[in-house]
Subunit: 409 residues, 2 copies
């Protein structure tokens, strides 16, 4: 199941970046499951990784290799991504496998192992099938291309329980020149990113210095991937990479930086929302906007408390305008000195709650009409300050239980 | 659905306390839905209430009346409990209805309204049907009795989506005398108590001074009702009352206090566990024991992170020994400087995780054999200190989604 239609967009070429996908048979035959991304010499690469303490072996190795490159003033040249196996909970053997993958690809393409970053997604706790993975690398390298079809093939080659590939692209006119930002992402369950979603790769042809690139990535992650949740479960393998090949316009400050920042946030928000629309068992796409909070943290706390409430999520699934459950979830959010008489809750254009209880003009018919929609907006105003936050989530359906009771992920 | 068999126990008389239940037709005809509890003059009463900021009108009024009694050095004489309607999210009108209920019962039995405490449970946001509720009060008063059947009738008269009445009783021999502690509770969904579960009423014939009674209640709640979760949703109506009629032995300190404290914890733990066994859609009863933590708070944080994980809960439902999901949930718990290489996770008698990954001796067969059971123990040792905590929870089943997608609660 998934909410709405999403077509994989036409992706313009990013000069200095090529992608190759192949079928290595890592988990099952006949599907793309191994992707190599080639980055030109002289590019800049920033990364954000999961905060899960049980982080996967490839996350540990990717962090190490990225630091090693940075210390030498250079950037990674290759990313290698497999689906079907997360290489998580695999201890020392898993670290060895991740490093061996980098060494093998490095040997094939003529760079040191440390200039290759590994990424894995799929089942936790099984050893990586190294024979099939290594045997697939030459095919992925051979497939390297910068056309839109290569982006789509790579988007498909990183999926697990996702039902569709997720891509987003913007092209910005900066003066006489243009800058392109392309991104692909995967994720459907175990989605409560804490730095970045399961896996996302975003690239631009702009030239951006490392510290600014890092700052831009962190800002955009904070307002996109860190604002979505399917099921409150943070993955062991989350990673989001931002690549600036430097072949195009230089982005340093002023209008160009403002425009680039907006464009990057747009690409990453589209990808984050695509993850929610494809959330496991999702039948609704829900936007939770909390404002008039004392701080952004407080607004996020309220939004995530509502977004994680199984009772709110099952009511959304049932298209039941059960505002009492929303009110109860808001009421248990970790907010100090909370005066609920100042809270208002709106469902689409219908006011649900004011003055500590059901809004006087509310009718069940009006509430039900909004809840019947596939895309639902819930706005909660706390009456405490001027800060706000927006979080996107899905509902809790029978199919979510079926997927997760049947699928060994 | 519910886990295991639970018979309502034989409840000895508590001298100085009577219960009466009746069918007032508050939500639907033909079921007990209105309960009155009569407490002798000279008793002591302690209460713990929800911390949900949107607390229900009866919670506000019960708190006010309890404070007013305490200020005058006396205790409440009557509790009145209805199911079928939570009188929550009902604003000023709800407060008026709760006060009117107390005044009406007070008039019937000849005490001031402030010596009556109101409790409600059921659907949120509908006005209390005052005509039927008030019309039912004389019948409930007429039914007042101290026999075991009166306890059972009261236990039935407070249920909502529960499938069975929940009672527990212990009798302690203190020297030549005995002390009895009886309790009833209700709760099945919206269960993540934060002070106390939905509704619990515990009574003893012991004589205990108010400040000690209050302390004993808080200690026992902290280790019983505050250690259970079905779905992470804290109710607007949670309340737990402890009544000491004072007709029996005096409990002040020493051995008697130690024994009483243990007995009280036993009754409240049995009631809390009965709530989980009857959790909405529950097919498993899960004990999560976290030890070797730096603090009890840290142990509770890890236990609740695992207990609330939808992926862990669906794996439990599927009897799938998916230890990777438990590991991922432990890894995202809010623990500082977390060295996962020191963590061990055991499922029943089977070691799942050690040294940051799957335990070397682990086999899928051994794990599956434990997961097939109806009662499952998960023990997580953090390797950081000497503190621990135990939390009880249920699984996440199709029936949970059905109940909460269909039932307007």
């Amino acid at each position: 199941m998934a909410v709405g239609e999403t077509r994989f967009p036409e992706m313009p070429e990013i000069e200095g970046l090529r992608l190759g996908a192949t079928m290595a048979g890592i988990k099952k035959p006949g599907r793309r499951d191994l992707v190599v991304i080639e980055i030109t010499e002289g590019a800049r690469v920033a990364g954000a990784f999961t905060r899960n303490a049980f982080c996967a072996a490839p996350v540990t190795v990717a962090r190490e290799h990225l630091s090693a490159c940075t210390a030498r003033g250079e950037a990674p040249r290759y990313l290698v991504v497999n689906t079907g196996n997360a290489n998580a909970g695999t201890g020392e053997a898993g670290l060895h496998d991740a490093r061996a993958t980098c060494a093998e690809l490095g040997g094939l393409v003529g760079v040191g192992a440390e200039r290759v970053l590994p990424f894995s997604t799929g089942v936790i706790g099984e050893p990586l099938p190294m024979d099939r993975l290594l045997a697939g690398l030459p095919g992925a390298v051979q497939a390297l291309d910068d056309g839109s079809h290569a982006w789509q093939a790579a988007g498909e080659g990183i999926l697990t329980t996702d039902t569709r590939a997720k891509g987003a692209s913007v092209t910005l006119a900066l003066g006489d020149e243009t800058v392109t930002i392309n991104g692909i992402a995967k994720g459907s369950g175990m989605i409560r990113p804490d730095m970045a979603t399961m896996l996302a790769f975003v690239a631009t042809d702009a030239a951006i210095e490392p510290s600014l690139l890092d700052q831009l990535l962190r800002e955009a992650v904070e307002r996109s991937f860190n604002c979505i949740t399917v099921d409150s479960d943070t993955s062991t393998n989350d990673a989001c990479m931002l690549i600036a090949t430097g072949r195009g316009v230089s982005v340093v400050d002023g209008e160009a930086l403002t425009r680039f920042r907006e464009g990057l946030l747009q690409v990453m928000t589209e990808l984050a929302q695509a993850v929610i629309r494809d959330g496991e068992g999702a039948t609704k796409f829900v936007t939770l906007q909390v404002d008039r909070a004392r701080s952004r943290r407080e607004a996020l706390d309220v939004a995530f408390t509502v977004a994680h409430s199984p009772l709110v999520k099952t009511a959304l699934y049932a298209s039941d305008a059960n505002w009492g459950r929303i009110l109860a979830a808001v009421g248990r959010a970790p907010v100090e000195d909370f005066d609920v008489n100042r809270v208002t809750i709106d469902l689409g254009e219908v006011r649900l709650v004011e003055n500590g209880g059901r809004a006087s003009g509310y009718t069940e018919e009006a509430g039900s009409a909004v809840m019947a929609r596939e895309e639902i907006d819930i706005r909660i105003a706390l009456g405490r300050g001027e800060q706000g936050a927006t979080v996107w989530t899905s509902d809790l359906s029978h199919e979510y239980v079926t997927i997760n009771a049947d699928y060994r992920s």
